[in-house]
Symmetry: none
Subunit: 197 residues, 4 copies
């Protein structure tokens, strides 16, 4: 018995591959099943619907990633550093998992169910992380307090998301994502810094 939940994992991995190649709506359940080496019906022993496969990919990978980020910011001294770490990790993840990133950035938005549950999901938790770091920075007197953290988190996330999507769709490589990360962090942090004169 190699791994626990062998089949479930195989299905998820196959789905990432197929979704990335074909797109959510073009991906046929049969194709996923074949790629996973299981029967069509087997998929429905582990997932309620095609939508749910996609959601599961997102939730489970997000879960892992959220944990990773939390660990990484643990050593950071203040909110500013945490935000920078967050930016680095986000784009680093995209660079290292382009196929998964494509599913996140593009295919996911084609699932009705996902869009409806846009809030109330791991995404919200993820955004909550940044908001927390930003608030910490505000309390530490390093980030201007007059802009709501809820807005700032969207500004930062939107910037990262757009850059990531472009990089992914450009079939990665054109430019150095890690360098972009540093620049984006610079811009954002300077932009939100408490004005010193």
């Amino acid at each position: 018995m190699p791994v626990k939940n062998d089949k479930r994992t195989r299905i998820l991995k196959a789905a990432v591959k197929v979704f990335a190649k074909r797109g959510f709506y073009q991906a046929k359940v049969t194709e996923i099943a074949k790629a996973a080496g299981v029967a069509d019906g087997t998929i429905y022993l582990y997932f309620k619907s095609k939508d749910e496969i996609l959601i599961s990919i997102f939730d489970e990978e997000m879960e892992k990633f959220i944990g990773k980020i939390k660990a990484e910011v643990a050593g950071d001294a203040n909110g500013l550093e945490k935000v920078r770490t967050f930016v680095r990790s986000h784009l680093s993840f995209v660079r290292q998992n382009p196929r998964l990133a494509q599913v996140f950035q593009v295919e996911l938005r084609q699932s009705n169910k996902f869009i409806k549950e846009y809030s109330g999901s791991k995404l919200k938790e993820y955004l909550g992380l940044v908001a927390g770091y930003i608030e910490q920075g505000q309390q530490e007197g390093m980030i201007r307090p007059d802009v709501h953290a809820g807005l700032l988190k969207r500004v930062l996330f939107g910037a990262l998301d757009e850059v990531a999507t472009h990089w992914v769709l450009m079939k990665n490589g054109k430019y150095d994502l890690d360098e972009s990360a540093e620049q984006i962090a610079d811009i954002f942090l300077r932009g939100v810094a408490v004005a010193r004169n």
Copy 2:
């Protein structure tokens, strides 16, 4: 101008309404036809496919909007001011056309064709505008020249897009988009400003 292309316009307007209410995939061509007061087949005299209706909405509204922005920045003295005007106009448009904005922000991304032609469209032209203002700012020595304008335009556009999507999905109103516009412009412009000391 005695309503030239009356039908075409009616179809587009009906489509915006239906797409915003139902979402792209739930919107049926029949429903659009009924809302426009034409026969199903008539739609195909003006558009090659359902996808194309969506694209047309985007392109044509974008065309108008791009013209409007160009006019508005005409009076601006420098790149910085133009960027600020751009930010204001973008969110102001969203606030004034929430239904159209929802189609742009959400439904559009469900069209395979749109995603595939992500570049090569009015969107590219639109993004080109900001890039131009940013480059102008760089040439004027007011925006740091070491970050590629191509990255900056995505950072800004991503931020605006995310904030707009959230505002639209929250059924607008929760917060003041115009105020957000000023804050986003502040943050971005300070973030990208040439360091003075």
Copy 3:
């Protein structure tokens, strides 16, 4: 333009044929479509579901048949004669439309929808006819009044239905249905007659 509602009629006729040959659950929509010379989807322009085809066959044929019975009993002098006419017509219809009768007798009972709407349909109206004739006979003092007409109608209908089903399933012919009609009418009418002595 040969007939009004040409397609709809063709579909119904084809469905009777296919239902009788294969049974309701074995009958595939595709097969009905082929038999009717239309595309699969066309069927759904005229009927909401496979169930509805079956129900429509029943309702529409029943409608016609109810009209025919009403006309036939019009010349009858009293309730007794009307009951006899009813019995004759019922089995005569079965004899003359064996395929339709099989659908009524056997396949119809395989449709969930039909069973659920067992009452509140043409069947109820049909049974109401007999009940009316029986009540008339009771008022005329020719049928015993101490048994509820609602029970009597079921007794008679059940007897006819069972005899008809058997005759249909035996691939008709074994015995003379018209003769059976006379005998069943004799037995029932004598059985329910007011005791004279």
Copy 4:
């Protein structure tokens, strides 16, 4: 007898419950298994198919019931009395086992296999009983000999069946089935009596 074939019995009992609640086609094998406290596969150690479960219920309960009827008519002096006993027992059974009756009256008819083997089963044997009583009555000179017993048995069975079905579907109770039994027996016996005078 220490519960030989314990499982088999549990499965049958569970099936009656589930068939009555859901109907044959809505009843899932899994649900029966769960209700019986066995694994899905176990069912197939005792029955070849879902159809066969239904048939087995029918055959085995019929077997018992046929035995019971035989015992009850044993004390009857002639065919007429036996027919009356039969009528009483049939409806009495329905009244006392409404759930089982529903399966017999309604669900059973949804099984293709059952319908195909309509003859050649316990039902035939059951009908044979009545036919026998009727023939006895004919030989005793009390029932008119000019009508075939085969027809008479169907007339009587059909009447009982229809009344029973209605009673069962009406969720029993509306009227007194035992009283109906007497009236049906009266009507039938008077109807088939040899004409005197």
